[in-house]
Amino acid sequence: MALDLLLESIATGLLIGGFYAALSVGLTISFGLIDIANVAHPAFIILGAYFALALSQTFGIDPIIAGLLLVAPFYVIGNALYLFYSNTFERRGESSLAGLVLFFGLLILLEVGMATQFGVGLKALYSAYGSVAVSFGPLLLPLRFVYSFVAGVAAVIALELFLSRTFRGRAIRAVAQDAQAVSLMGAKPETIRLIAMGVSIATAGLAGGLVLAVGPISPYQDRLLIGRVFAVVVLGGSGSVVGALLGGIVLGISENIATIYLGAGWSLAVSAVILLLVLALRPSGILRR
């Protein structure tokens, strides 16, 4: 029985890890690759969740599909965000930390905006698979997390391919290392960052669909996500999207194992300790590049 429980917790932890990766992978790109500490990223995720809710209710589509539909408009939102940021902060040559003021202000504005537009209460979507678990050998896996795991892993793979196989993707990774050298390759660093921020926020659109698929949403829910998404990004090694997946899985599994052996009340403490240990032993994350 105990072994079953352990396996179960590892398996669901893995699934949750895929979900965490989907929430964090956009931040890996903005924070890890182009040095924009976008603390408002979770607020964009919740915004995506509200849009996904509207789409789902209007067209009767699955929230994850709705999240996919949001990728394109959120890409544009990301572009706009970058233009605003670069014109107000980056061009002045200030450190990315100066931008934190901007993004924190934006976070509050987004929260208030969502609260007034969509209401302060909880919103949820009825989904046929909401409380379904599928058997996998002796294990029972929550279907909504199976789906979000698949979507999260697919997003990570797509991004990894984009970043390693395309000219623009490689340029995004290169711009983090040496922006001036990138300009010597014939690429405009601002354009590369514009693309990167678009991609980053585009993932928030998808992640919003997943958040809606997984549970109820509320306008101030982003605060619950901030700590976790930054932890995932740092655990994985900032700038590595595969690392974000690993970081998410480490977090998901450790939280679940803590639940089994120490009680869920300690799960956050355990993940904080793991984060601190990883930082102490391998400061650049699990996947050192």
Partner: protein
């Protein structure tokens, strides 16, 4: 040398700047005090000062609460006010940030010169208590558990019908209900969220379990940020309890129901102090999964709770909720609004009955000594300011047809199974398992 001169000038200039700012703030405060404390003497309105969560996490309770208060103010003024005094609501948003509460309460007291104070929730009410108690003004607390435990302020009154021993009274019914079943279940598993509600619920549950002779075979807590409950509920299931006792917040309630269904956790009695099913959006999201679950309520649209005026209030509340376009809050709203309104009704009746507007001590004594008839039923208060009796209801979801708002509205879906006095149907036992 030059550098030192420059530095000294920097010091003096900065001190000057700081001094100017301090003077401005002081002067501003004084001016504000002067302008707002001037009130024409003849038509003194009754001012109700409210510090409430219009934004932040607790806005989902604060906004419905404030809406109900405003409906009361409109009703009262339309009827000519209280003993000829119009009522005026002065409400500040504390943004669910407790550190803002003492200053806002103090502003209401000493600048806005309100007559009575209202707060919502345990944490904010407890933070308001020291300031409010020093002022000696009546403080109405909406929905907090044990918020008066620190100070025992004798002019504090709690709106929710929890009872004189809040932790225990909040959950006692669930265990009495369980004890009444034949054969009596023996073991119980606790699952409680790590926040003030969850832990107080759990403490009360432990006492009630001891009184009822139940053995606690598992006692789980989880943080409010818990993502998924599958592992947790598997663990709980593995202890094989006769009944489950869950103290959860709205989002978690959904996750727990979903996970319990997923792992097919079927204790004989499923439920507990769950907040969440009372919210329409979550009822609709869970649909038939709620069938058979037992949870608490303060008011439900069952015939046994047809207090005078409550139905018309609910209709007006729904109208406001719908008119707010964005469906800013819960359209059915049975959890917070009726008792927020009822507490204000109680205040109206107390001021009228006591005929002591302006004398808080007298009014406090009057409230303690009288019974008030409200849309939430008869209110009487214990010394602690809690209701002198408990009227926490335990309801079971029955006859849920599907996942829509209409599947839950109206009587017959949230059947009162405890206490006997308000019973509107029989408990379906044992828990039939998960459908839909």
């Amino acid at each position: 040398m030059f550098v030192q001169v420059s530095r000294r000038r920097a010091v003096s200039r900065t001190v000057a700047v700081v001094a100017v700012i301090v003077i401005l703030v002081v002067a501003g405060g004084g001016y504000y005090y002067y302008t707002t404390s001037y009130v024409p003497a003849t038509t003194t309105p009754i001012k109700i000062g409210v510090v409430i969560q219009e934004s932040g996490f607790l806005a989902l309770a604060g906004v419905p609460g404030l809406t109900a208060i405003n409906i009361w103010a409109n009703d009262t003024n339309a009827a000519g006010g209280i003993s000829g005094h119009k009522v005026q609501i002065i409400a500040y948003d504390d943004a669910s940030d407790t550190s803002k509460v003492p200053a806002l309460i103090q502003k209401l007291i000493s600048v806005d010169n309100v007559d009575y104070l209202v707060t919502l929730g345990t944490v904010d009410t407890a933070a308001a208590m020291p300031v409010a108690s020093q002022s000696g003004k009546i403080l109405l607390g909406l929905f907090g558990t044990n918020a008066n435990a620190g100070i025992n302020y004798n002019k504090f009154f709690q709106a929710a019908p929890i009872g004189p021993d809040p932790n225990y009274d909040q959950v006692r019914g669930y265990f009495e209900l369980a004890a009444s079943i034949n054969p009596k279940p023996q073991t119980v598993a606790f699952v409680a969220v790590q926040n003030d509600f969850g832990q107080q619920c759990s403490i009360g549950g432990a006492k009630a379990a001891a009184v009822g002779g139940f053995r606690i075979v598992d006692n789980e807590t989880y943080p409010p940020t818990q993502t998924d409950f599958t592992s947790l509920m598997q663990k709980v299931k593995s202890t094989n309890p006769d009944i489950a006792f869950i103290c959860s917040y709205p989002s978690d309630s959904v996750g727990i129901v979903q996970a319990s269904k997923g792992v097919n956790f079927t204790p004989k009695l499923m439920g507990g102090g769950m907040i969440g099913p009372q919210f329409t959006a979550l009822e609709a999201a869970l649909g038939k999964s709620l069938q058979g679950i037992v949870t608490f309520a303060y008011w439900v649209p069952e015939p046994t709770l047809n207090f005078p005026g409550v139905n018309s209030f609910i209709l007006r509340y729904e109208a406001v909720a719908n008119a707010s376009g964005a469906a800013a809050f819960d359209p059915l709203g049975y959890l917070y609004p009726p008792y927020s309104y009822a507490a204000m009704q109680m205040l109206t009746q107390a001021i009228q009955g006591c005929n002591c507007f302006g004398n808080n001590d007298q009014l406090g004594t009057y409230i303690h000594g009288h019974t008030f008839t409200t849309i939430g039923g008869n209110m009487t208060f214990a010394a602690s300011g809690e209701w002198s009796y408990s009227r926490v209801l335990w309801i079971q979801y029955q006859n849920i047809a599907g996942a829509s708002v209409s599947a839950f509205s109206g009587p017959g879906h949230q059947v009162i199974v405890w206490p006997a006095a308000y019973k509107s149907g029989n408990l379906v036992y044992p828990f039939a398992g998960w459908s839909g």
